[in-house]
C-alpha cells in the first residue's frame, strides 16, 4: 500500500482542483434550489438576495414539477435529441458510404460536406429560419409559391386542366408555429451535425479490411449483404461514439430554440432554465438539478451501450 501513497499524493492537487471546479457550481446550484431567491420582487425584497433564512425546502422542486412546461420540456428534449441522432446517423452512414468510393473531385466534395459543421449554431439557425424555412421569403415559401403557380397554369391547360383543377392550393409550412418549431430545430441541427457523423464514419470505413470484402464477394454476398454483414457491424463502434457525443451536446441546445420561436411550442430543459432564470433563480436551480439527473441517466445508459460494443 505504501508504494501507492506517493502517486496518490502527487495526483491530489489535480483531483482536488477538479473536484472544486465541479463541486462549487453544483453546490451553489443545490443551495439555490432549496431557498427562495428571485431577482426582482417589490413586495418581498428580502428574497432578492440568497440567504438561508429564505429556506424553502423542496418547494422549488414542487413548483417546477407542477409548472405546465416542465414535463413538456423533458419530453421535448428527448424528442429533439432522439430525432437528431436518428437523422444524423442514417444520413451520416449513407453519405459516408457514398463518398468512400474514389471519384473525380472527391477532395472538394469532402470539404463541402464538412463545412456546415463550421457554421456557428446561432448563424445556422438564422440562416435556416429566414432563408430556407420562412413561409414567405424563404426557399420554403418560394418553392410552394412556384408549385402553386405551376398548378394554376396547368388548370387552364387543355386535356390535363380538369385533373389539376381538382388540386388544392398548397400552403407553405410555417416553421415558427407552435406545432412545427421543434421540427425546424431538428432539421437545422441535423444539417449541421451530419458532417460530424460523416467524418467519423468515413475514417472508419477507410480502415475496413478489403480482403474481407473480397472474401464476401467470393462467398456470393450481394452489395447489400456486404453492407449489412460487414460494413454495418464494422461501424458499430463509431456509431456508438457519434450517438454519445451528440446526445450530450444536443441536450443543451439553446441558440436554435431561442432564434426559431423563442421557446414557443418548443422548450427543452436548458431553455426552461433560461426562462426561470429571468427572475426565479430558485426554480431555475431546481430545474438545473433535474437536468443534471436526466443527463446522468442518459450518460450511464449510453456508457453501458458503448461499453457493450467495445467489449465484443
Amino acid at each position: 500500500m505504501s508504494d501507492r501513497r506517493i502517486p496518490r499524493l502527487l495526483q491530489t492537487p489535480a483531483v482536488v482542483l477538479l473536484l472544486i471546479w465541479m463541486l462549487i457550481p453544483l453546490g451553489m446550484t443545490l443551495y439555490f434550489s432549496f431557498i427562495r431567491y428571485v431577482l426582482n420582487n417589490l413586495r418581498r425584497p428580502e428574497w432578492t438576495s440568497p440567504s438561508l433564512s429564505n429556506w424553502r425546502g423542496v418547494g422549488n422542486y414542487e413548483f417546477v414539477l407542477n409548472s405546465k412546461d416542465f414535463w413538456f420540456a423533458v419530453q421535448n428534449s428527448l424528442f429533439i435529441v432522439g430525432s437528431i441522432l436518428f437523422g444524423t446517423v442514417i444520413l451520416g452512414i449513407l453519405i459516408a458510404v457514398l463518398i468512400n468510393k474514389t471519384f473525380p473531385g472527391r477532395g472538394i466534395v469532402r470539404v463541402l460536406l464538412i463545412s456546415p459543421f463550421f457554421v456557428m449554431p446561432a448563424v445556422n439557425a438564422v440562416l435556416w429560419i429566414n432563408m430556407i424555412l420562412d413561409p414567405v421569403l424563404g426557399l420554403n415559401g418560394l418553392a410552394v409559391g412556384g408549385i402553386n403557380n405551376l398548378i394554376d397554369n396547368l388548370q387552364t391547360a387543355p386535356v390535363v386542366g380538369g385533373f389539376f383543377s381538382l388540386w388544392p392550393e398548397f400552403e407553405p409550412i410555417s416553421f415558427r408555429a407552435t406545432q412545427t418549431s421543434a421540427y425546424a430545430v431538428i432539421i437545422m441541427v441535423t444539417w449541421q451535425w451530419t458532417p460530424f457523423a460523416v467524418l467519423i464514419f468515413m475514417t472508419s470505413l477507410q480502415s475496413e479490411d478489403q480482403q474481407q470484402k473480397e472474401a464476401a464477394i467470393l462467398d456470393g454476398a450481394s452489395a447489400w449483404s456486404q453492407f449489412r454483414f460487414l460494413t454495418l457491424p464494422h461501424l458499430g463502434r463509431p456509431i456508438a461514439i457519434v450517438v454519445m457525443i451528440q446526445a450530450i451536446f444536443h441536450l443543451s441546445l439553446y441558440a436554435e430554440i431561442e432564434i426559431v420561436s423563442r421557446g414557443n411550442g418548443n422548450k427543452n430543459l436548458p431553455y426552461l432554465i433560461g426562462e426561470f432564470a429571468n427572475n426565479n433563480i430558485g426554480a431555475a436551480s431546481a430545474t438545473g438539478i433535474f437536468a443534471v439527473i436526466l443527463a446522468n441517466i442518459i450518460a450511464i445508459f449510453l456508457l453501458r451501450m458503448i461499453g457493450k460494443t467495445l467489449m465484443e
Binding site: 480482403q211 474481407q212 472474401a215 467470393l218 462467398d219 454476398a221 454483414f229 460487414l230 457491424p233 464494422h234
Partner: protein, 333 residues
C-alpha cells in the same frame, strides 16, 4: 471437376502490363503452386482466376466454360486469403455458414456441413468463438472451413501460411497436403516460398515478371531447370553459378552446381578455397567457401559430422553428372 485453362490472358494496370499474354492449363485434381519472387504477378494471376480482377484480354475457362465475364461468386471457386479475411463480428460457426447463408441453403443442411468441416479441421470446440479469440493457425483453419463448405470445383490459396510462425507453417502445410489427398479437388496455391512449392505441389509454375519461366513437377524443376532463373530459385540453398574459363571447359557460358552435389575434402579436389561462414543444422552443414577463383562464394553441403573452421583451406569436387550447363542467353544447353 476443376480444370482451369488460361488462354492468352493479359492484365494491365493503366500503362503497365503486369501479365504479358499467358497460357496455362491446370488439370482436374492437380495441386498447382504458383511460385516466384514478390511482385512477379502470381497473386494477380490467382485473382484473375478468382475473378477479383478483370482480365485485360484473353479467356479464363473453367471446366470448358468461358467464365471471363462471370462474377466471382458464380465461378464455383473458393479462396483462402493471406490475412484469413474472416468476418470479425461473427462467430466461427457463422463465418463458416456465411457462404451457405448467402446461397440460401436450408439451415439443417448448413449445420450438417459445418459439423463435418469443423470435425475435419479440429474446430468443433471453437465454433462459438469469434475470430479475435483464435490463434493464427486456428483462424487459417476457419478460413479453410469456410472454403470447404462451398464444395468448390477448385480451391485458391493466396499465400495462406505467410502470417504463421515457422512451426505452425510446417504443420499447416501437411494439413493442406493431406486435405488435397483426401478431397482430390483442384488446388491452386500461391507462395514465394520455394520449400512450400517443392513439398506440396504436383505442378509448379515458376513466374517472373508475369512470365511463366517453367511449368513442371517439383523434381523436374529441380533436375532440369529450363533457365538460370528457375535454377537459382528452386533448391535451397541456392545453386552455385560459375562463369568464365571453368564454364568454358564444360562448353557452356555458365555452369550451375547445387551445394549438395559438391564433395568436400581436406586434402584433394578439383577446386579449392577458404571456409567462410559455416551453418550447422545438425543433420547438414553448409559451408560458404571463398577465394575459389570461380565465383565470390561457393556454397557446399556436407554431412553434419564434417567440421571445418573459419579460415581453413578445403578442396571441392563437383559431381560431373549433375552439372547444369547454360548458354549465354541463360537457357539450359
Amino acid at each position: 471437376m476443376g480444370r482451369i485453362v488460361l488462354e492468352q490472358v493479359t492484365k494491365s494496370f493503366g500503362e503497365t502490363q503486369v501479365i504479358p499474354p499467358l497460357d496455362l492449363t491446370i488439370e482436374d485434381g492437380e495441386f498447382a503452386v504458383f511460385v516466384g519472387p514478390s511482385g512477379c504477378g502470381k497473386s494477380t494471376l490467382l485473382r484473375l482466376i478468382a475473378g477479383l480482377e478483370d482480365t485485360t484480354s484473353g479467356k479464363v475457362i473453367i471446366d470448358g466454360e468461358d467464365v471471363t465475364q462471370v462474377s466471382p461468386s458464380k465461378r464455383g471457386l473458393a479462396m483462402v486469403f493471406q490475412t484469413y479475411a474472416l468476418y470479425p463480428h461473427m462467430t466461427v460457426r457463422k463465418n463458416i455458414a456465411f457462404p451457405m447463408r448467402m446461397a440460401g441453403i436450408p439451415e439443417d443442411e448448413q449445420n450438417k456441413k459445418i459439423a463435418a468441416a469443423a470435425e475435419s479441421l479440429n474446430l468443433t470446440d471453437y465454433l462459438d468463438r469469434k475470430p479475435g479469440q483464435l490463434s493464427g493457425g486456428q483462424r487459417q483453419r476457419v478460413a479453410i472451413g469456410r472454403a470447404i463448405v462451398r464444395d468448390p470445383s477448385a480451391f485458391l490459396f493466396d499465400e495462406p501460411l505467410s502470417n504463421l510462425d515457422a512451426a505452425l507453417r510446417v504443420g499447416m502445410r501437411l494439413e493442406i497436403s493431406e486435405m488435397h489427398e483426401r478431397m482430390k479437388t483442384t488446388m491452386i496455391y500461391v507462395t514465394h516460398d520455394q520449400v512450400e512449392a517443392m513439398t506440396m505441389a504436383n505442378k509448379i509454375v515458376v513466374l517472373q515478371a508475369g512470365n511463366i519461366e517453367q511449368v513442371g513437377s517439383p523434381l523436374d524443376l529441380y533436375r532440369e531447370p529450363r533457365n538460370l532463373f528457375v535454377a537459382g530459385f528452386i533448391g535451397s540453398p541456392k545453386m552455385n553459378f560459375i562463369e568464365g574459363d571453368e564454364a568454358a571447359k564444360h562448353g557452356a557460358h555458365t555452369i550451375g552446381i547445387r551445394p549438395e552435389h559438391i564433395e568436400v575434402s581436406s586434402d584433394a579436389g578439383t577446386w579449392s578455397g577458404v571456409v567462410g561462414v559455416s551453418e550447422h543444422l545438425g543433420s547438414d552443414t553448409f559451408f560458404h567457401v571463398h577465394d575459389t577463383g570461380l565465383a565470390e562464394t561457393i556454397t557446399v553441403r556436407a554431412g553434419g559430422e564434417v567440421s571445418f573452421k573459419h579460415g581453413d583451406r578445403i578442396h571441392l569436387t563437383p559431381r560431373q553428372d549433375v552439372i547444369h550447363k547454360f548458354g549465354p542467353d541463360g537457357l539450359r544447353l
